[in-house]
Subunit: 645 residues, 2 copies
């Protein structure tokens, strides 16, 4: 454990000098000296702490972390793909990446951004080019039923372009992308877990989205520099239609997002209530906020017409500012104060609490949801009375996971550690019981941990077996491979009293958040049905070239090891739409289709149909070929495109 | 072991019915029934075969396959990235992916295809758009010195667009891409290992490239359908300049490529000597060829002006057709016949042999290089006398690796197995010694293996410790994740007499080939020098906005947690070039830079400089932000771009 880290035995109760990082400490933070990644490797005795042998039977409950060849994982992980703009699907506890689902950024294997079908999902400019080709995905969450994942959908956000993507968890494909209006830097997302009013709707129907950057909402050069007038909005997207239902104009900004198990509350933490434009301004206030949204009241207000719209957007926007929501009887929002520049906000699996991690404060703040609702009901005098604990846990707390046994696990970015603490003990301690020892265990991590999640942690079925941490720096943990190091996703066995580090996994930047759940919650489909595709070429006999002026349609099927058209002819300048149906029915008998020099490559899975459109602008012979190994005669599987000059 | 597979005890000597797949068998191959991936899972008792416990100490020499947290791998792996168009860098024996190096396809993390520097490497159209955005990488090999890797360069091919990329192995970046002229479907590559003439050049100076698809070399509509006139070329690229040195016009096509340790010979296997355009035609001949190139003679011919050029290309093309090379005294090429539709051709680490795998023939053909040279010297009557063995190994042999102890390991695609066989024993058997038992061991694989390589296998330092196999189908080996299954890279301990399967790794399609070598052969650099970038902004004081008409240059530096310009202002319609230098010096203290709605995202590593150019076509406030976690105040690290209408 490095110098300055809190040791379990001294973490409480007397640490007044560390209660909050004071101004001097914050000034230091901003300098290079305390930058996240220091030159010297941490001196943590990780080997000892991480030796599985010291723990008896690590992974005993969830199976060994080291699977034998042919053994299947027991958990799925859905990981944000970072700047690759996709969702990564992992098997756990092995940590193996099973697939990546393209969403926001083109993918040259699948043909995402190349096929007409994917381009429609992604969105195009009037000239036909893709609207966006970069992304920065952060958070991924899945749809709920009765407080557990129901295997229908997952969602993921793109912070750069304020987009929300939905993934169908039957076929593991992205089927809808929504760009949020009126906001910038959309960061946190969370689906609701049931309807706040209708008890029959015991499943996800909304996704909440927090916008991080405040921007001018009024057009015109005069508004561009009036930073004090910049605003941020909180957005509700319909889980089925993926249309934006409503937005809330707020004070301050949105960072992470959480939702209650009863469907009544959503919340976002705010690190910039100051509306600052430079980082020094953004951390000038001693306390920021965790901002609660009363979902039922907001929707009643929208229904009653109590909203405005912004610019050309038709989305109803209600007023969630502090000034407009002082009266609990009518308030749509409630600002609970928390120490400066908080980061994660996470819902405990017992449904009782939201926990805000302090980031620049060494504390976690526990907010009791029943008390927040009591305030809305006029039964709590001050909203900050909903804070039932605010306890020190270590330096740089960022995110919190749960084991379903009353313990929370919070990453400590500056300490490079994970702290296990007991929520009820922390509440007792905060209430005055100085003998309540809430810190249960600490574990050094490698290095600078950010997101954390445990198996089933964000459900009522939290099972406290495995925990993963996304460490932002790996430093010396993997073979060097140039200036860009991988990040280090660490797997920890939390089935016992003591935490045990069991594996390091390098990952490409920058996954951020993820969820881990039991494999039996998903029932993926492996083969499509031809009927799902209106343009399917159901019989090889339908294959051929149909000309309509300069527009040419080429219909084709595949059946290993041949395409139904061994050749086809078009003329230079034709607009060619090629439709390919894979008639193979065997699981995973996927074919690829590439045309040299024409920027065409995509795959068709069994019984799937895809299409591409291109201008045949180069005369010659072009051997379209199967790019996805399918058969002993795969290399020989080609179709000859002849473009006449 | 499944029905129909060869058992070691019956693999020789009497198997006349299996000597070659006859016409009936081939017809069956083409049907769905014998497609690569059949519906029923293989009944291989993999669990038993793969239990490490049965082997004593698997991985004893190379360390355990299961590294403890913090333990480093002992080998690097450079893997083709398949359709992602990048090179994957793995650590072995853990199989962990450490990084991916973008080459042919844009990468939204690095900003590959977005920064001006990367766009120059990739190549652009006259309108500024990227020339290509898809790729199909197959083979990766590294530069040699004295028969072992020297850590300078690696190369990787793109089959779709006939491109060769070079990777600098100091910074793990792609620095040059060459598009080969006059060819299509460029597939196999291999660097030479020394100069054929100058003994002082004991390192790689050439990269050989085989073009798979035959195409018309003469323009005009009349030529488009004359398939019998289509031709393929073999290409030599200069390893330093990356310019094409010369090409050889050949009969038939090129598939994989190999080079001799003495620098004198390069070769390519040919599966389509028939010039067929449909797969039935491509496999009509009973024997195809392994085509040898006499490098010194070809270069002498080029020097003597004995070449032509094709179309607008200035590359010298010599005549390597059968007709022009009948006389050994002057021949540039030699066609050694091998059984129909061969696939891999691999050089044994003792420097003596090239081994061709039969694919549609259950055989491997061993060609002795000294005898090929003897033919060129007029000392061998018929070139086919260079064949010193042609032995049965199993169904669907594709590629071969070596352990440096005289054994070869050949993947059997149709048998889903790996066969270990002794080369000298095979030669004895072929010479008539029917007691020579060349098959040493067989191991079932999961499933349909393609490429294979062993640690240091393609060097004089082959060490026979680890072997990896790229299985084309994983079927039931991983959790289901929709219709597209991962492929299965299997790791095998070959340090003992018996092979032991130790791990399954799912990978995204489709890696194809790879190399594995000792970590001490690489000395990567972790921090750039500012002087490597002519446009570096070396001091924050140089930051600012410089206008030249509608062209605006924005110079900026980064130092955690701030950009030197907290804001900058441009006008709608400006062409903005933004230059960003990262002044942080700490290893891995990388920053990202994204501009919402402007398709800008890239990273700058410590002391690196990058630039982007875009038209400021949207007025408003755009929060450029750091997209690569760098510091506790990373979220607050922004620069405000104000675009005035």
């Amino acid at each position: 454990m490095r110098e300055g880290a809190i040791k379990p035995e001294d973490s409480q109760p007397e640490m007044p000098r560390r209660r909050f990082l004071n101004s001097a400490a914050i000034a230091g933070l901003a300098g290079v000296g305390l930058a996240a990644c220091s030159d010297k490797p941490a001196s943590a005795p990780a080997a000892k702490a991480s030796a599985p042998a010291s723990h008896g039977n690590p992974g005993e409950d969830g199976g060994s972390v080291h699977l034998k060849p042919g053994e299947l994982d027991t958990y799925y992980g859905l990981w944000s793909g970072g700047h690759t703009g996709d969702m990564r699907v992992l098997g756990l506890p092995s940590g193996r990446e099973i697939t990546r689902i393209p969403c926001f950024v083109p993918d040259a294997l699948v043909g995402w951004g190349i096929t007409n079908e994917s381009r429609q999902v992604m969105g195009t400019n009037p000239d036909g080019s893709l609207k966006y080709t970069v992304a920065d995905t952060h958070h991924t969450h899945a749809s709920y039923k009765d407080g557990n994942y129901d295997g229908r959908y997952a969602w993921i956000n793109d912070k750069i372009n304020s987009r929300l993507a939905r993934i169908r968890l039957d076929y593991f494909v992205c089927d809808k992308i929504t760009e949020l209006p009126n906001v910038q830097g959309f960061h946190g997302i969370f689906p609701d877990k049931r309807d706040p009013v209708d008890p029959a709707i015991n499943y996800t129907t909304r996704v909440f989205c927090g916008a991080e950057f405040q921007i001018p909402l009024v057009p015109g050069n005069a508004e561009l520099e009036k930073a004090d007038k910049y605003r941020s909005l909180f957005t509700c997207v319909d889980a089925e239609s993926m249309e934006v239902r409503w937005q809330v104009l707020i004070d301050g900004n949105c960072d992470l997002t959480a939702t209650s198990y009863d469907g009544k509350l959503a919340a976002t933490n705010q690190y910039n209530v100051e509306n600052g434009v430079k980082y020094e301004d953004m951390m000038s206030a001693e306390r920021d906020a965790c901002l609660f949204f009363n979902v039922a009241r907001i929707e009643a207000a929208v229904k009653a017409g109590k909203f405005k719209t912004i610019g050309s957007s038709k989305v109803p926007v209600v007023d969630g500012t502090r000034e407009a929501n002082k009266d609990p009887a009518t308030a749509l929002t409630a600002y609970v104060s928390v120490p400066k520049n908080p980061h994660g906000v996470n819902a405990s699996p017992d449904g009782k609490y939201f926990i805000c991690a302090g980031k620049l404060s060494p504390t976690c703040t526990v907010i009791e949801l029943a008390k927040v609702l009591a305030w809305f009901d006029g039964k709590l005098e001050k909203i900050d009375q909903a804070i039932v604990a605010e306890v020190e846990v270590g330096l740089g707390p960022l995110h919190t996971a749960f084991d379903g046994r009353g313990n929370a696990y919070t990453t400590l970015f500056l300490d490079s550690a994970l702290v296990k603490w007991n929520v009820e003990a922390a509440i007792k301690f905060h209430a005055g019981d100085k003998n309540a020892r809430y810190v249960v265990d600490r574990l050094d991590l490698q290095y600078q941990p950010g997101h954390v999640n445990a198996s089933q942690s964000e459900t009522v079925a939290a099972d406290g077996k495995w925990l993963a941490v996304g460490c932002k720096f790996s430093k010396d943990r993997f073979l060097p491979a140039g200036p860009l190091h991988p990040e280090n996703e660490q797997l920890i066995d939390i089935s016992g009293e003591k935490m045990v580090l069991v594996a390091d996994h390098p990952v490409r930047g920058e996954p951020h958040d993820f969820i881990i759940f039991k494999r039996e919650l998903l029932k993926p489909k492996q083969v499509y049905s031809l009927d799902e595709f209106p343009n399917a070429v159901k019989d090889p006999k339908e294959s051929g070239v149909v000309r309509n002026g300069r527009k040419v349609t080429v219909k084709m099927t595949s059946l290993a090891p041949a395409f139904s058209l061994r050749e086809f002819k078009v003329k230079k300048g034709d607009e060619v739409t090629l439709i390919l149906t894979n008639l193979d029915k065997v699981q995973d008998l996927t074919h690829g289709f590439a045309i040299p020099k024409y920027n065409v490559n995509f795959i068709v899975n069994p019984q799937e149909t895809k299409s591409v459109t291109f201008i045949a602008d180069k005369p010659g012979v072009f051997w379209a070929y199967c790019t996805h190994f399918c058969h002993a005669l795969h290399l020989e599987m080609r179709s000859r495109m002849i473009v006449e000059a």
